[in-house]
Amino acid sequence: MAEDVHQVTEIDVERRLEELQEVIFALVAFNYQAKAPLSDRNDIFDGMAAGLNMLGEELAASTISKKYVLSILQSIKDFIVVTDSSGAITMVNDALCEASGYEEEELVGKPLGQILPGISVAAVIEARTASGEESYLTQKGGGALLVATTASVFVERGQVTGIVCVARDLTQAKRAEEERLALRDAVNKQAILLDELLTPIIPIADDVLILPIIGSLSDDRARRVTEALLQAVVSRRARLVLLDITGLRGIDATVVQGILRAVEAVKLIGADIVLTGIRPEVAALMVTFDINLDRLVTYGTLQAAIQSALGLRSRGSRSGRSA
């Protein structure tokens, strides 16, 4: 093998050394694909070339370049800022620069408080982590972005050397929350309006109210009807309520119970109540449930009840057909 080396000319030696040098330069530049050519002599130059080639393969398989890692950080849309243990900024990503309006050069070396005044580096280092806190990202123009921040200690070779802070823009989320609240408010208003439509309490005289119930009467609606009726009786100082159930649909035991609860509640606050529009099936159901009808004043139609109510007022007394 030594004889082979001696047979190589000086020009060959120079060329082969240059080839090896090229591969070394490539490895330094993180180009792990570069290969040094091998001859069939299996000489010392081939050994060195094989070594460099294998080194490149091993580095390619096991090394991640700083450029690659930085590319990842710059691709992240959340704001990333790294500080040293004194709180001086050492790195920011593009997303943070774009949102804050600062160039990286304007921020590196400056205290973290310049852009994230709500974060204490010392507190994060002591606690080792801080997450889910809302803060503001200061913008160059004087504005501020609401952000959610997560911070943790930055450890290098086992030593805490600073903190890494990740902030997420909450502007969109806040706007979505406001829209959600506005929608909820609108739904509430519609519910109130619906309540009013479901409980159309109509005053026909200073102290006489009519409440026609139309459609079905669930437990919940019965409760709301009762509440609205009681409020109206109190606020208008009504003495008589005409509760018309001509348009009531889907009558069953629950519905009858609901009506009777409304009747009892009105009586409890001192007003009289007249039930009108009782259809035969309702009457049959009331009898079936063995309901005490002694104190219930009823009329066949709303018209008759109105005439009676207004007549009573004009005569200063009340009459009706007690059930």
């Binding site: 069939d40 050994g47 094989a50 070594g51």
Partner: protein
């Protein structure tokens, strides 16, 4: 007794029954890529008859054993020990880099410039 020799593009495998050692010798100027490495291992396992035996690999005449091949060779745990004979400049580099990267993987591995020394060491792993 299986005395068969298996020759591939990159080398020859045979069982040295007298020593109880499986042997593989790279062909002169061979360039070993992953498919070659897989083919070699397949033959080595067949020739050894599924027994756990020590292996002597002579890389002296090899020109290249690429990274994927080295990683694949290192993943094979069937042998009880591996002696690499590296009596050439390229062989020395291949052996040393393989040893540096995979030498601590659990399989006893050692580099030799002399075949006789390699055999002597491998004999200690024969059951």
């Amino acid at each position: 007794m299986n005395t068969e020799r298996r020759t591939t593009k990159t080398g020859t495998t045979w069982m040295d029954h007298e020593l109880g050692i499986l042997r593989f010798e790279y062909a002169p100027g061979s360039v070993c890529k992953l498919p070659d490495a897989k083919e070699n291992i397949k033959h080595q396992l067949e020739v050894s008859g599924g027994k756990t035996v020590p292996i002597l690999v002579d890389v002296t005449k090899a020109k290249e054993v690429d990274g994927e091949s080295r990683a694949y060779y290192a993943s094979i745990k069937t042998f009880s020990a591996m002696a690499l004979v590296i009596a050439s400049p390229i062989g020395r580099v291949i052996g040393n880099i393989f040893f540096a990267v995979y030498g601590t993987r659990g399989l006893p591995t050692k580099l030799f410039t002399s075949e006789a020394d390699a055999i002597q060491w491998l004999k200690t792993f024969i059951k």
